[in-house]
Subunit: 159 residues, 2 copies
Amino acid sequence: MATQEQCAVLADQLRVVVAVGREIGRALPPESPPAMVALLSALDHCGQVRMSKLAERLDIDMSVVSRHVAYAADRGWIDRDPDPLDKRSRLLRLTADGETVLRAASARATDVLADHLSEWPDEDVGQLAALLARLRLSFGDCRPRAHAPRRHTNARYEG
Amino acid sequence: MATQEQCAVLADQLRVVVAVGREIGRALPPESPPAMVALLSALDHCGQVRMSKLAERLDIDMSVVSRHVAYAADRGWIDRDPDPLDKRSRLLRLTADGETVLRAASARATDVLADHLSEWPDEDVGQLAALLARLRLSFGDCRPRAHAPRRHTNARYEG
DNA sequence: TATTGTTATACTCTATAACTATA
DNA sequence: TATAGTTATAGAGTATAACAATA
C-alpha cells in the first residue's frame, strides 16, 4: 500500500506535470484547443454515448460539456442523433470530419512529446503510459461520484 | 528511443490525467486553489528567487505570476525583499504562514490521492513519481524557451 | 418528482499589450 | 536600447443555478 509520504511526493509531481500539459496545449491548432481535443478523443474512445456519460468520463460538469459539444456539432465534428429510448437525450458520435480534426491535433501533441522524449528508452515510455492509465482507472472506479455538496471558491487574484 | 505510436498513446494518457488533477484541485481549500498551491510549492522548492525565474519554472507568463504573487504577498504568504544587485527586481521567499498554507493544501491533495491509491503497491507509486519527475526534466531542459511568436487562439465556445 | 440537457452568469486561470522603472 | 516587473484587457475553461422537456 502507498504511504502518505509517497502520495505527497506524487501529488507534487502531478502539480508540476500540468506544465507539460500546458506546453503541449500550446502546440495545438487554434480551432481545437486542449479541452476540445479531450472531448473529441473521449468520443473517439466511447463510440456512441449520451452527454451525461461523456461528462462523467471527462470529469467535467455537464453544462460545460454541453457548450463544447454544441461548438463541435456546429462545425460538423459531432453528430447528435435522437435517442430512441429517451426523448430527453441525444446520442453523440464523432463524425469523419471530427476524426480528421482529432488526428491533426493528436499529431501535433505527439510531435511535441516525441521531440522531448527522444532520449527515453521505449520501455520507460510504455511504463509511464501504463501507470497513467492505471492512475486514471483508480480515479474512475469511484465514479459517478456521490455529487457531494460543492463549495463556492472565492480566491480573486486581483488588486 | 520512443516510437511515434508510443508518444501518441502517452499524449492520450496525459490528456486523461488532467481530470485527475481537476479532481484533486476540487479538494483544495478555497483560499488556496490549484494555481496558488503550485506557486507556493515552487517557491518552497526554489528557496529565494526572482519573478522571472519563478515564471519560467511554472511555465506561465510573468504577468500571470505577478498577479498571483501579489495575491499571496497581500496575505503574508510570500516576502518580497528588494534585490540588492538589481533595483528592478525583488527576491521572493515563502514565509512561515505561506508554509502553513502550503502544508494544509498539500495534505488535502495527499489525502485524495491516498484515498484512491490505497490498493497500489509502494513500488508502483514510487515509479510513477520518478517517471513524472523525469518527464518534467525532459521538458524543463529546453527552457528558457526561445519565446517563439505566440499565436492568437480564437476558439469561442459560445452560442 | 426526478432526470436530461440547455442557458445565463460568475469565477479561475492564462496570455497579449502597453506601461514604468531600472540596467 | 534592453530587461524586470506591473497593470489593463481579453480569451479559454469550468462551476452553480435556474430553466425546459421528458421520464
